[in-house]
Symmetry: C2
Subunit: 222 residues, 2 copies
């Protein structure tokens, strides 16, 4: 039960990541597979949010998960145990991000014929993953309340490249100096089109709205 496949990712040989990412996106669209690249700082609750989200959608959408981590397979095991969906671990061997070729190495280990949605949990890092197009068909990030509402000012590119910003740990707002309206304003300064969904992966608050957003992305109606 505890065993998950662990893939040791090799450094990319492609110099032109953007071209490669565009090519991967076309391949995925031809296969009718949606690839969601989920990014965040360490400890913002990516895995816990995914567990809640996947359990909400897995009856209607066939989901697979790729968990990228420098080391350890803690997350892939957690996802598999808590949701039962196929989950593999990508070891980046110290690398701080994934690019399109590294993402492809992971996808090669999934059965895409039987998948509507692949969720890639990127390395916990607000800087480098924003710089490398993974070939994903949509990009999302999680900002958690304890990190502070000023993060869009400090990590501008991450907020610019994401279609969706999930604000997690809304249950602890009373204990932190976090102003959600100010945060939304800062996010829209960086990216006027960004969708923003506040959630608490702990209590389940907002997960329905998140599932709704994802269903639209995957184009699977109820």
């Amino acid at each position: 039960m505890n065993e998950v496949k662990v893939i040791e990712i090799k450094k990319s040989v492609f110099a032109e990541n953007e071209k490669d990412a565009d090519a991967l996106r076309v391949e995925l669209k031809n296969k009718e597979v949606c690839l969601l690249n989920l990014m965040s700082a360490p400890g913002s609750g990516k895995t816990t949010t995914l567990i809640q989200l996947i359990n909400r959608i897995k009856d209607k959408i066939r989901v697979s998960v790729m968990e990228a981590d420098i080391d350890s397979d803690v997350d892939a095991v957690k996802i598999k145990e808590a949701t039962g969906v196929p989950s593999i671990q990508l070891h980046t061997g110290g690398m701080c991000h994934l690019d399109a070729e590294m993402t492809r190495q992971g996808l090669d280990n999934l059965n895409l014929e039987e998948t509507d949605l692949v969720i890639l949990e990127n390395v916990g890092n607000l800087v480098c993953p924003a710089e490398f197009d993974t070939g994903a068909t949509c990009n999302a990030m999680i900002l958690s309340v304890p990190e502070g509402d000023d993060k869009p000012l400090k990590y501008p590119l991450m907020f610019t490249v994401c279609d969706l910003v999930i604000i997690n740990k809304m249950d602890v707002v009373p204990y932190f100096d976090f102003d959600i309206e100010r945060c939304k304003k800062y996010i829209h300064l960086r990216n006027p089109k960004a969708q923003i969904i506040p959630v608490s992966a702990k209590t389940g608050y907002g997960i329905d709205a998140l599932a709704e957003w994802l269903r639209r992305e995957v184009n699977v109606g109820e």
Copy 2:
């Protein structure tokens, strides 16, 4: 009052960062300047902790601060307003870390003759800054309670390179699933020699112990 010097850091020309870092460390020791490289994930409370710490030690130790950020000068302004010590902002222009040459560009803008301790607040990132020796005479990191006690398993190098791990936001322990003993065990798995000091920058808890540690590093007795 609100104005701080902003330095646009250029990419390093030195290929051999380790040699350059060793050279910088020798220079600093000759000048009797301690350089503390403070690292953490985004939003762990580096700036707030520094304000508390600096106000506790500034009568005995002459402190200067270099705030590294991709963009914005929010932090340098905060430090200057709240402590009155010299504070400059280093803009990394999107770069995810600082190396020795970039650190030197910052130091060139400080008056080291009148400084005992320079604190470098590195870019908020648990991955890349751990890979690049800045030439600092000591390395410390902050892990905050909301990030989770499993971070030493997931970001091993960061915990390996630090002399000190500060565990911040201890005031919110009741609201998170964070086991400090488990966290200490994981930290010591990565780095048996690491000092660990739990603090709350919000309430002031543990700041005395932190100041004590820093005084020893700077070699300035009471």
